[in-house]
């Protein structure tokens, strides 16, 4: 299964929006944090987990989803949120803690909820998986269309919630796909030091579902694997586990000195940055021109600029609004 030209352009543009968005966030995050880095300062306080490098996972999967399908993501959610169609203005405002944010500033960057496109995430490792299983159960029980996709990191595969969710999804044959974004690092601990098997897709065998491995952080290969798994889920044939080799171009969070990386790793990762690789391939295959690329890049940048401007211009919530919305 190959993405057609239209799908490729959609994937490429959303990768760019995500990349540009995070470049903007990265810059703004450092405002007020120099010369002394204090996480509490600046227009974007708190932890900031960037997903640059992992964009292929988001677009390769979400190219097969529509707004009615469900996606749950992690503490590193921006790329998936963008590919899933989350309102970028309101997401940016949420990251700034503004009143116009998706949650009025209560959630911030690790707690993005946009029910209009069935997107949510959680800051706790592997804990988006149960809700994805439940949403799939909901669709199956109520005979409503839709599949659920749970995104997780390779470190999450060592959490109990991972194993419980896989078993539950399989024993109930639910329309859910589990997508592991293997960026090789759990903060500072390499996968090999934490995981008993070199590849987590083999763990699918323990739960009676197909396990698929995608190497090379390749959006085309991810598109193909996800397409098959999602079609399988839509056809009522049950869950699939996919592990994607991807790359975290940034630290675990901003401010991470990344002293644990072997010498030269970052340079090697940037040399394999998936965005220029996709652009080159599309140009080589005649699906993109230099002019077309410039046009897409300009559109993506304008989209990001508008979202950041919206966030900056928005007001903070009244402090007392903290006491509202505990209950529906």
């Amino acid at each position: 299964m190959q993405p057609n030209r239209e799908q490729q352009l959609w994937m490429y543009e959303h990768m760019l929006v995500s990349r540009y968005f995070e470049e903007a966030i990265e810059k703004i995050y450092l405002e007020g944090k120099t010369p002394a880095f204090n996480m509490a300062n600046g227009p974007i306080p708190g932890e900031m987990h960037l997903s640059n490098g992992q964009e292929p996972c988001a677009v390769g999967v979400c190219a097969h989803l529509d707004a009615g399908d469900i996606a749950t993501s992690t503490h590193r959610p921006h790329h998936v949120a963008i590919a899933k169609g989350v309102d970028l203005d309101r997401m940016a405002a949420e990251i700034f803690g503004k009143k116009t944010g998706l949650s009025g500033g209560r959630g911030g960057h690790m707690h993005i909820f946009d029910p209009a496109v069935n997107f949510s995430c959680s800051g706790i490792i592997a804990q988006g998986m149960g809700p994805a299983v439940g949403a799939a159960l909901s669709r199956k029980m109520s005979n409503r269309e839709g599949v659920a996709v749970a995104f997780l990191g390779e470190g999450a595969a060592n959490q109990g919630a991972f194993h419980e969710a896989l078993n539950l999804a399989s024993v109930w044959k639910l329309p859910v796909v589990f997508v592991i974004e293997d960026n090789a690092w759990g903060i500072s601990v390499p996968k090999a030091d934490a995981t008993a098997v070199p590849r987590n897709d083999v763990r699918a065998a323990g739960y009676g579902m197909p396990g698929v491995h995608v190497a090379g952080n390749d959006p085309f290969a991810i598109f193909a694997a996800a397409g098959e798994a999602i079609a399988r889920a839509r056809a009522g044939q049950g869950p699939t586990l996919i592990e994607i080799e991807t790359s975290r171009l940034a630290g675990h969070f901003m401010g991470d000195a990344e002293g644990y990386r072997p010498k030269g790793e970052k340079e090697a990762l940037f040399a394999r940055d998936p965005i220029p690789r996709m652009r080159d391939r599309m140009i080589a295959e005649g699906n993109l021109t230099a002019e077309g690329d410039a046009e897409i890049a300009a559109r993506a940048q304008a989209r990001v600029d508008a979202a950041i401007a919206f966030a900056r211009a928005s007001d903070y919530p009244a402090a007392e609004e903290a006491l509202e919305r505990v209950f529906a």
């Binding site: 469900i70 749950t72 944010g101 998706l102 949650s103 009025g104 500033g105 209560r106 959630g107 707690h111 909820f113 946009d114 029910p115 069935n118 949510s120 959680s122 706790i124 804990q127 998986m129 149960g130 809700p131 994805a132 299983v133 439940g134 949403a135 799939a136 159960l137 909901s138 669709r139 029980m141 109520s142 659920a148 109990g160 919630a161 419980e164 969710a165 078993n167 539950l168 024993v171 509202e324 919305r325 505990v326 209950f327 529906a328």
Partner: protein, 343 residues
């Protein structure tokens, strides 16, 4: 129990049957409602509260789960957010240790973190309480643990009338509700049961609203506040005190979140004395909260220092004499009154 709809109805139900009846009635009128948990299908729930449901509603809607509390409570959050109304059983509240993230980081926070845009209409029903020598991994109450954490309503009925009405209200609520039922009130023959919990229950559907405590016995000399099993200990203590010429008022909290501080305060303003009975641990819990809420509002209503009869701060022991020594009972409540009664 002052709010009984029908006192002429002679039909008496156990809490277990009252819970099952409420669930069945809601399932008949709302196809979004379903039940899942361990052994809630063919077995009808270890504590009987889903008995008969699988025969009427089948395996899809009365869904036995693997022993995977993190998995299925997390799934319940996802299903509730997607438009279903799951009723989920955590067989013993003591098991919260294996699944608390799904409860307090997802179920209880998703509404707030979404700015109110995501609703989680989920009932988490769970058994509490000891007294039958099951030791400290199967006998705790943990009321305060759940009530302490924002984002979930917490209820604990003392009788079958309230249990049915509160279960109905819980299923209809747009928010997560932790429905804590005490095993010693449940009406399971093999557990022994408190007779006072099995009361008249109307057949028709009704709600017992949350956040309203009940004055289950009126009195003038002391207010005894309790919930679940504590209410029955309080009522027995009130009988003993009456023999000594002391008039005790008994308040059944029924709901911890939201908490009816007004009813407690008004009662204490009348009696001037306060004893709180709680089978949960003594420190940092419900008993301290009740006392604080009275003291904060007006210390002068108290004629004497408040007292609490709660579980000592020890894990619950197995041996019968040791466990019985630790549990609240009517004699302890009377003894607590004796330390403040003359004031």
């Amino acid at each position: 129990m002052s709010e009984k709809v029908s006192t002429t109805n002679e039909r008496r139900l156990t809490i277990a049957r009252a819970m099952a009846e409420a669930i069945a009635q809601e399932m008949r009128v709302d196809e979004r409602v379903f039940v899942m948990g361990e052994d809630i299908g063919g077995l009808g729930g270890v504590f009987g509260n889903t008995r008969g449901l699988i025969e009427e509603f089948g395996k899809e809607r009365i869904r036995d789960t693997p022993i995977s509390e993190t998995g299925f409570i997390g799934a319940a959050v996802g299903a509730a957010s997607d438009g279903m109304r799951p009723v989920v059983e955590l067989m013993f509240v003591d098991f919260f240790g294996v699944c608390m993230d799904a409860i307090y980081n997802l179920m209880a926070k998703n509404t707030y973190f979404s700015g109110g845009n995501v609703k989680v209409p989920l009932v988490l029903m769970t058994s509490t309480g000891g007294g039958y020598s099951d030791a400290g991994q199967h006998s705790q109450c943990l009321y305060g643990t759940f009530a302490h954490l924002p984002g979930m309503k917490v209820v604990a009925p003392s009788n079958a009338y309230d249990a049915k009405g509160m279960m109905t209200a819980a299923i209809r609520d747009e928010n997560p509700v932790v429905f804590m039922y005490h095993k010693g009130l449940q009406g399971m023959g093999w557990l022994g049961t408190e007779a006072g919990a099995t009361v008249n229950v109307p057949e028709e559907s009704y709600e017992v609203p949350f956040g309203k405590a009940a004055v289950v016995r009126e009195g003038t000399d002391v207010t005894i506040v309790g919930l679940a099993m504590g209410v029955h200990n309080a009522l027995k203590a009130a009988d003993l005190l009456a023999k000594k010429g002391v008039s005790a008022e008994v308040v059944d909290l029924r709901t911890l979140v939201p908490l009816d501080r007004d009813t407690v305060f008004e009662s204490v303003r009348k009696t001037g004395r306060l004893i709180v009975v709680d089978e949960d641990y003594h420190s940092f819990g419900v008993s301290g909260e009740i006392i604080a809420s009275v003291c904060e509002r007006d210390l002068s209503v108290l004629k004497a220092a408040p007292r609490r009869v709660a579980y000592p701060d020890v894990p619950i022991p197995f041996s019968r004499p040791m466990e019985q020594f630790c549990l609240p009972n009517p004699d302890k409540i009377v003894a607590a009154f004796d330390t403040i009664g003359g004031a």
